[in-house]
Structure formats: C-alpha cells, structure tokens
C-alpha cells in the first residue's frame, strides 16, 4: 500500500487558489470552512513564497493522539480520517494540530462547535464508499475511484503534488536538481519527521 502525502513546491505555487476552490466544490464544503488554503509568507518582500496547506495526514497524528473520544483512524493508505458520528466538537484536535487543519461549523450559542471538518484526502469517511451519506458528511471519495485528491490533480503549475510519498518526493527532487533551487517540502519535518533531501 502506498503512503499518501502532500507536497507543495513553493517555487511553483502562483497563489491562484484554484486548489482551495476545487476542494470546496468537489467536497461541497460548508460556508466558513476551508479544508485547504494558500498561505503567502514574506508577502511583497524578496523571497516571497506561497504554500498550499491542508491536513498533512501526519505520521503519529497529534489530532488522533489528543482526541478524547478516539474518533480518528488511519486508512491503509496512511490517510488520517475521523468519524463525525463520534466527534463531539471539543476543539482539542485544533489545539494540537500544527497545520490548523481541523475546523468547526458554528452551531448554537457561545463557542458551540459542530462536528469537526478537515481534509479527507478526497477519501470520504467511514461509511460505504461513494454513497450519498458519505458524500453529505465527508465529501467526495476519489481515492476509492482510483483518483488522487482534486486539489493536486488540477493544480495548473503542478506545484501541489499528492500521491505516494516516495514518488512525489522523487518528482520534487528531480525538479530541484534540474532547476538548481528549491525551498524544500513545507511541513514535512513536522508531519512526517523527515525531509526531502536533494
């Protein structure tokens, strides 16, 4: 089985936000929630870079470690998913996540959070693959159809790569060797405790 990862080549990302839009559309993500976002660091300064970021599907995921109801699980492809029927919306995964991936719809009074929502790597949820109930709760299940997450699939500059960690790392390495520079794999040290060495 593959070990699915995301890799954003910040030297290619042009901050077009198409990944953000594609994700919202493909998964019918509710208003106010962004499973994926593009962050620009050093905006307007030399060395400006944009990085498309979502759940990184960490090795030893912090969200799963702190969840008080233990609603997370890791698939055979190493995708970190959660069961919304078990989630109580406590917000702990949000405190622990290094990437700000978990988000909550606002329901009820005060800070009453609804069920947590985050990137599913376009792999749906615990229900039967590609059913209406699965789509309503989690969005598309492209992985079950043999497709990769839409954000990476439609990236116009192919900055955002999704797929088996070793394969996307080798694609990135080749790029860096060819062009002679690369700012590295953002989030990899934090998420996977490893980096892409060129």
């Amino acid at each position: 089985m593959a070990r699915m990862k995301f890799l954003c080549d910040a030297d290619r990302c042009i901050e077009c936000n198409a990944c953000v839009t594609a994700c919202k559309n493909e998964n019918d993500v509710p208003w106010g929630i962004n499973r994926r976002r593009v962050v620009t660091i050093n905006d307007g300064k030399p060395g400006e870079r944009s990085i498309s970021m979502a759940c990184m599907h960490c090795t030893d995921a912090p969200c799963a470690a702190v969840c008080p109801v233990s609603c997370f699980y890791t698939t055979a492809d190493a995708v970190v998913l959660h069961d919304k029927d078990l989630c109580i919306g406590c917000g702990y995964c949000f405190y622990a996540c290094p990437f700000g991936a978990p988000q909550y719809p606002r329901v009820g009074n005060f800070g009453g959070r609804g069920k947590m929502d985050k990137c599913t790597y376009c792999a749906g949820g615990p229900q039967q693959d590609n059913t209406a109930v699965e789509y309503a709760q989690y969005g598309a299940n492209r992985l079950a159809e043999g497709k990769l997450p839409l954000c990476a699939e439609m990236c116009s500059t192919k900055a955002l790569l999704a797929g088996d960690g070793e394969i996307i790392a080798s694609i990135y390495k080749e790029r860096v060797q060819r062009r002679g520079y690369g700012s590295g794999a953002w989030g990899w040290r934090t998420a996977y405790r490893e980096t892409v060495t060129v």
């Binding site: 962050v39 620009t40 660091i41 109580i88 590295g184």
Partner: protein, 333 residues
C-alpha cells in the same frame, strides 16, 4: 550628551539592519532559508510560521504552529499524570485517614440543642456551586480519562453520547458555578480573612492528629483554605474556561492552549481539594453535614469545632433577650 548617545545608537541599529539585509540577500536558494530549516528553527524557538491568506478566515494565515506538539504533550502526559496523582492520591489519603483515625466524633456527645450555622441563602448557594462543580468535574475528568477508562467499557457510540452531553453540561453549568462563586465570596469573605488564630490552628494540625480542638471562629484555617481555593482557584478556572467557551473572541490559538493548560491543572487540583472537603463534611466528621442540610448544627459540635463563634453567637443571643439598659425588673427596689 544624551542626544549624541541616541544618534550613535540609531547609527548602530541602521548599520546592523544593513548587515542583516545583506546577509539575507546572500543566503542560498533565492534569498530565504529552506522550509526544513525554517520549520526546525521555529520548532526549537516555539514560534509560528505565519503569512497572509486571501480568504476571510484570517486564522488560516498561520501555516505551521509547533506549539501544538507541546500542547499534545501537556494534554496526554502532564495533565493526565498530574490529575491522576492528585485525584487518586487524595482518595488514598482520605481512605487511609478513615482507616486509621475513623470518624471524628462529637467528643461530648449530641447535646440535642442546635444553633443556626448557615441560613437558607448560604445553603442554597453552596449546593448550587457544589452540584455544578460535581458535574463540571466529572465531565472534565471524562475528557482526560474517559477514553482509557470508560470508552472500552461502554463502546464508542454510548461514550460519544455521554461525552457530548457532558460537553453541553460543562459549557452551560459554567454560568451557575461562576454566579455561585461570586455570591459565596460576598457572603463569606468577612469570616474568611486569615488571622493569627489560623496559625495556631494550623500548628496544632487542626487537632486531627493530636485529638484536641484548637480554638476557631466561624471558619477555622482549614475551612478558610477551602474557601480561598474555591473562590480564587474556581475564579481562575472559570476565567480560563470562558476563554475556551468563546474561541478566538479574547485570544488566539496560543492563548487558548495556555488557557486550557491553566484550566486543566487547576481543575484537577481543585477536584483533589474538594474530595477532602466532601469527606470531612460527610463521612469524616459526625455532626458536620447538618450545617449544610438543615443549617442547624448541634451545640456541642459547634462548641468543639468553632468555640469562638459559639461564644459570639451566645453573646448575641443573650444581648437579644436581655432587657434594655435602664429598665429595672419589677420589685427590684
């Protein structure tokens, strides 16, 4: 002189800035350090990598926050261990104390006469705080330990239902709890100011080990301690809880993580303290529970545990029934 000094300092700062800017442009890989170096640096410094986003949710501008890992360590290790040791340790102490010393009896026996210790308002307020505290404590403990203790027993669906109701209760009971703390402070603060008597009481160990009854006013040093733990500890726990109840209204994620840490540790310690309070108020001491049920305690109990308070109360009562000065009893002259 000072002007020259400022000019010199400014010049120094400018030149330092220039050097830094130069160093930046000379750095490899198009002027910036690489992702892994930056991540490592921020992880070591405990800082966030932040940028700009073009979506309305400005919280999303934080790209990587390494503090999450520390919070995870806190929640899974520090809090669980502190809580476990504090709560189980206190339970152990209470059981041990009961096994060795048994129930503290009224030494001179029940007198049959009672004296009012807490009026209806005081009792009602106490039980409002107490009942909300118990549910707050249980639902809070459930978030830390339930996954390991309860979840394997009752299964994921039932455990989620329970935890969800626990969360709702925890959120809403915060309000009666806080209101009760304020009323408690107003009602009892005047009798809870520490004084020299408390030192003597503490020195005598409250009489728990030597058997005697050190003199005490309406509240002894132990009760004063419980009062201040409740009011101050509960106040901080409530304040840090409201920060979490209204996410991002007061502080950002770093502030919420810190609030949770304060909230968790103090709450665990308060639970431990309240276990001792509950024990001594019920099983641990004969005649003590009456103070919070009927509000009237046995006269002998009061004389043993709160000698000075009883003296005050009887003096007040004598004053109330004594004839006004200047009035002579019939046939006195």
């Amino acid at each position: 002189m000072t002007k020259r000094l400022i000019v010199a300092l400014l010049a120094l700062m400018l030149s330092a800035g220039g050097v830094a800017a130069q160093a930046q442009t000379q750095a490899p890989a198009r002027g910036q350090i690489s992702a892994e170096e930056m991540e490592l640096q921020r992880a070591l410094q405990g800082g966030r990598i932040e940028g700009r986003v073009s979506i309305p949710d400005q919280k999303a501008a934080s790209l990587i926050q390494p503090e999450g890992r520390e919070w995870r360590q806190f929640h899974n290790r520090t809090l669980a261990w502190t809580g476990g040791i504090a709560v189980l340790g206190m339970l152990g102490i209470v059981v041990l104390f009961y096994a060795i010393k048994g129930r503290v009896r009224i030494a001179s026996g029940w007198s049959g006469r009672t004296v009012l210790r807490f009026n209806l308002l005081e009792r009602a307020n106490h039980w409002m705080v107490a009942s909300s505290f118990i549910i707050l404590a249980l639902s809070g403990l459930n978030l830390t330990f339930g996954r390991y203790l309860l979840l394997p027993l009752i299964g994921p669906e039932a455990f989620t239902t329970l935890s969800l109701w626990g969360k709702v209760a925890h959120n809403y009971l915060a309000f009666p709890f806080t209101l009760g703390l304020v009323v408690m402070l107003l009602l009892w603060v005047k009798d809870n100011i520490p004084n020299r008597l408390d030192l003597a009481w503490l020195k005598a160990g409250g009489g728990f080990f030597t058997g005697g009854h050190p003199a005490a006013g309406r509240f002894n040093a132990g009760q004063k301690l419980i009062f201040w733990i409740t009011v101050l500890g509960g106040g901080i726990v409530a304040a840090s809880g409201y920060v979490l109840l209204f996410p991002f209204s007061v502080t950002d994620i770093a502030g919420q993580q810190l609030s949770h840490m304060v909230h968790g540790v103090l709450a665990m310690l308060m639970i431990a303290a309240m276990l001792a309070h509950i024990y001594i108020g019920t099983l641990g001491m004969e005649g003590a529970l009456d103070a919070m049920t009927t509000g009237r305690v046995d006269y002998n109990w009061a004389r043993e545990h709160h000698s000075l308070w009883v003296e005050e109360e009887t003096a007040k009562a004598r004053g109330a029934v004594a004839p006004p000065p200047g009035i002579k009893a019939a046939g006195a002259d």
